[in-house]
């Protein structure tokens, strides 16, 4: 119980981070772009892997229909 009380006291004593509006705006300009690059890169790698299997494995095994 005493530990909980101590924990509560320390939390309440924390000071809120100061938010710099300009820094926040700068971060919000870059972060979505990074997420897009990460997602796009992942999709590109997936598609390139698909093409590699299609060209190097599927087609050399002969036609089927």
């Amino acid at each position: 119980m005493s530990n909980d009380q101590h924990s509560f006291d320390s939390d309440s004593s924390e000071v809120m981070d100061e938010i710099d509006d300009e820094a926040l705006a700068a971060a919000m300009r870059v972060v979505p772009l990074g997420a897009g690059v990460l997602a796009g890169g992942a999709v590109a790698l997936l598609v390139l892997g698909y093409i590699a299997v299609y060209l190097l494995v599927f087609l050399p095994r002969g036609v089927v229909g």
Binding site: G36, V47, G62, V63, V64
Partner: protein, 167 residues
């Protein structure tokens, strides 16, 4: 970035469509009924019709029965570099098969004829196991597809072709 990924995806789809149209690649689909109770008595899948035959027009057709727990015939001769039509039927339960190293892969469902058109690229003996669990002997159900070069793929007077050697 997004434009590049879009171009990549569209190019991939274009490549698949182009090769499918120019090389005749498509998922095997054949809806053809057959009575599984009379499979072995008469008609296309009677015992004397099983195996590989070359018709008068040069077309190669292979007929195989998939049954618990074997393929009949056990050795299937096919030519290298020529179009082959593979036809399968089952008198009992659902089976499946693939031919290793090729794109041949189909289910064999009682009451229907499974048909696959293909062309074998390399000579040699290829394993053809059943890949649909069909009972306690499923793991013993396999056959050999013997891909023969042109000088070995010789039909007899009836147009039937036999495996050239033991495997």
């Amino acid at each position: 970035m997004s434009v590049g990924v879009g171009i990549l995806i569209v190019s991939t789809l274009g490549l698949i469509i182009f090769t499918a149209l120019t090389r005749g690649i498509n998922p095997p689909s054949n809806v053809e009924r057959i009575d599984p109770k009379k499979l072995h008595l008469s008609g296309e899948f009677a015992e004397h019709n099983l195996g590989t035959t070359v018709a008068a027009d040069g077309s190669v057709v292979t007929r195989v029965i998939a049954t618990q727990f074997m393929f009949s015939p056990h050795c299937i001769p096919v030519p290298q570099g020529r179009p082959v039509t593979l036809r399968f039927a089952s008198p009992d339960v659902i089976h499946g098969l693939l031919i290793t190293g090729t794109n041949v892969n189909t289910m064999v469902i009682p009451g229907y004829v499974a048909q696959v058109h293909t062309e074998f690229v390399r000579t040699g003996n290829l394993l053809m196991p059943c890949h649909e669990f069909c009972g306690l002997g499923h793991s013993e159900m396999w056959a050999i597809v013997q891909v023969l070069a042109a000088n070995e793929f010789k039909p007899d007077a009836d147009g039937r072709v036999h495996c050239v050697s033991e495997y």
